[in-house]
């Protein structure tokens, strides 16, 4: 019985299908709000699904010069990196589908995967462009993973648990942790921007600077998988922030409302900023995001 429950969680709710639907809606929200702020009309709500259907019906071209295994593995890992955290997150209730005492650490590791797969995809291009792009992206990753992890651990230490379910339950009693450790929450939000590839840190999508995007060689079904992972990222990363800092929730409507709130903050930052150069983004994250994450980390260690 339990296996069926887990499979249902993984594939239907809150896993694959649900996460894909909600993620693509949040992605559409981003595109629509952005378009309206830029005096454009923006895409209709079904645009993303139309794109996916089109990609699935296209031929998948596999370049002869490419290393096959990482080429196929990258989109699958990207999907896994978004899907498994959703099962571990307490979405819309106090309890996650699967829960064990150290799942915060597991989620932190899995959330590295979407970024990592883009590096793999780039390295695999087999050209100078790919190498340079992957190098700058890896450099940025070092800068954002550290404050991201520190902020998450701040919450874990304060709640005296590494289980996401217990973190949500602790917040239901003591109030959302954002009021207790606002600096850690800000650091987490700042690091979410490069994790999602949004301005001012959208270096991974800046084809005019890194010469080529990570997905240049992908087409057809494999590109569709990447796009689906991208849409799920719009649900899982804001969802992670909601669980850690914004109190989680006991029902799905409240949870989605909070997700939309977090997404809108990211969207507004994305609209009003130009792009940093890689080294400037690196410096910004290490000079601003890391110190404020450390301040709250020290505060929680000292018990202030």
């Amino acid at each position: 019985m339990q296996i069926i429950e887990i499979l249902f969680g993984l594939l239907v709710y809150p896993g694959l299908i649900f996460a894909f639907l909600i993620g693509s809606m949040l992605y559409w929200l981003y595109r629509k709000v952005r378009a309206r702020f830029q005096a454009r009309k923006g895409p209709p709500w079904y645009q993303f699904f139309a794109d996916i259907i089109k990609l699935l019906s296209k031929e998948t071209i596999i370049p002869s010069t490419i290393r096959k295994i990482p080429f196929f593995l990258a989109p699958l890992l990207a999907i896994i990196g978004c899907l498994v955290p959703i099962v571990l997150l307490p979405v819309g209730s106090q309890y996650a589908t699967v829960s064990f005492p150290e799942d915060l650490i597991v989620v932190l590791f899995l959330l590295i995967l979407p970024g990592l797969t883009l590096i793999i995809a780039r390295m695999n291009l087999g050209s100078t462009y790919g190498t340079i792009g992957a190098a700058s992206e890896a450099r940025l990753m070092i800068a954002y993973e550290l404050p991201f992890t520190l902020s998450a651990l701040t919450v874990g230490i304060y709640a005296r648990t590494l289980s996401l379910t217990s973190i949500v339950q602790a917040q239901l009693i003591r109030g959302a942790f954002v009021s207790r450790y606002p600096l850690a929450a800000i650091a987490l939000m700042l690091c979410m921007l490069p994790k999602m590839g949004k301005r001012p840190f959208d270096i991974q999508e800046a084809e005019n600077e890194a010469i080529t995007g990570p997905l240049t060689e992908y087409s057809g079904v494999l590109l569709a998988l990447f796009e689906m992972a991208n849409a799920m990222k719009w649900f899982v990363i804001p969802g992670f922030a909601v669980v850690l800092f914004f109190g989680g929730s006991t029902n799905i409507v409240e949870f989605l409302g909070k997700c939309i709130g977090v997404t809108l903050i990211l969207v507004f930052i994305d609209i009003i900023y130009p792009r940093f150069r890689v080294d400037q983004g690196f410096k910004f994250l290490l000079k601003i995001a890391l110190p404020i994450a450390i301040i709250d980390f020290v505060r929680v260690l000292l018990g202030w």
């Binding site: 454009r40 100078t128 700058s136 001012p200 800046a206 900023y273 130009p274 792009r275 400037q280």
Partner: protein
């Protein structure tokens, strides 16, 4: 950490290049060590074609050298032919030419601003710039009937008049453009990320700028006070009150600020020209006589000095039309700007001089009198043949 240098080819086809050009960038880690550029992928043979068409047909042809500075090309061509035929253009025509030229400069600078913002990833600003640019295009359309390739010039004057009814509309549009430009000025001077991206990037100091003979906003951003509208006044510029905008820094930010200053100057010039529009004819009758001689004239296009040289042989077809576009002078300065910069800035620096590639393409035609044939070749092959 020791890096070996690698060659990074940018182009001839690249998402950020609007026209084909090839940049051979040698990089060490993330720094550019040296750069080289090659153009010549879109030669159109306009100079050759111009020697097969009549003077009046060539107005149409020269207007199509460039899509963005079409009025500049036709103005410069018409002025050169007017020098050749020794005719004076009526006052009102000179003012109409000035007004259209300055509106075109405004639209070109707005377009460039949008592209520059897109290069640094500021798509919101990009969209707003191009939205505001519509006001300028509407004003131009009201005067000339077209949005690009205005076809307003003719030898000895202009083809369409600015009627008194449209002047209030044009003035209202100018107010709109002015408020949009003020908004641009606000965020360009205040936004910290734009400053971080553009300051001290792609520096071209005054000495190098002089050595490279750069022209237009690129030269003015390197501290050179160089503007054909003041140095060799044409149209109505000598009768209007305006200033040359210069900056001493020579970096990308200086080029942005020079163009920003020029936007305000252009609005000022257009307003004055509209106010002081003289009465009278807009064109002379059709010019038929083209005596055998040569003529040279130049104007200030949006990217810098544009020069035309025409030699006639007494017929109604020119013997030689030589076009020297501003990008022809600005492009060779790019490699020296790129050296020492980060790879991420390469395309920003390239965009900062507002380059145009296809108008700089030339072919060498060799006429072999012994074998009685002519063929095209490159300068390198010619040099090899000599030794």
């Amino acid at each position: 950490m020791i890096f070996t240098t690698i060659i990074l080819p940018i182009g001839p086809h690249h998402p950020m290049l609007k026209e084909p050009a090839f940049f051979k960038v040698e990089v060490k880690g993330e720094r550019v060590v040296s750069a080289d550029m090659k153009v010549g992928y879109s030669h159109r043979g306009i100079e050759g074609l111009a020697t097969r068409k009549t003077y009046h047909q060539n107005i149409f042809l020269c207007e199509r050298v460039c899509g963005i500075c079409s009025h500049c090309h036709s103005t410069c061509y018409c002025q050169t032919v007017e020098d050749l035929a020794e005719i004076e253009v009526p006052d009102r025509a000179r003012y109409v030419r000035t007004i259209v030229a300055e509106l075109e400069r405004l639209h070109s600078h707005f377009l460039w601003f949008g592209v520059a913002m897109h290069v640094i990833g500021y798509d919101t600003a990009f969209m707003y710039m191009w939205k505001e640019r519509e006001n300028i295009l509407q004003a131009i359309e009201t005067i000339t009937g077209k949005r690009v390739n205005y076809a307003v010039n003719t030898i000895g004057g202009v083809r369409r008049d600015i009627t008194p009814e449209i002047i209030p509309y044009l003035q209202a549009q100018l107010v709109k453009i002015h408020s949009a430009a003020s908004k641009i000025a606000e965020f360009v001077t205040e936004d910290s990320v734009i400053k971080a991206r553009a300051k001290d990037v792609g520096v071209l100091d005054k000495n190098t700028a002089k050595k490279m003979c750069v022209v237009g906003p690129t030269a003015r951003a390197s501290g050179m006070e160089l503007d054909i509208r003041k140095d060799d006044p044409y149209a109505a510029y000598s009768e209007l009150d305006w200033n040359i905008v210069t900056r001493p820094e020579g970096d990308v930010l200086a080029r942005v600020l020079v163009r920003l200053g020029e936007i305000f100057q252009s609005i000022n010039i257009t307003e004055q020209a509209l106010r002081n529009l003289p009465k009278g004819e807009i064109a002379l009758g059709e010019v038929q006589e083209f005596p055998t001689r040569e003529a040279f004239d130049r104007i200030e296009a949006h990217r810098g000095e544009l020069a035309y040289y025409i030699r006639s042989n007494g017929t109604n077809i020119p013997e030689r039309v030589k076009i020297r576009t501003p990008s022809f002078m600005n492009n060779p300065a790019l490699p020296s700007m790129l050296a020492g910069e980060s790879i991420a800035d390469v395309l920003l620096i390239v965009a900062s001089i507002d380059p145009c590639y296809s108008c700089t393409d030339r072919a060498v035609v060799v006429e072999d009198t012994e074998k009685n044939r002519s063929f095209t070749t490159t300068l390198e092959k010619l040099a090899r043949r000599r030794c």
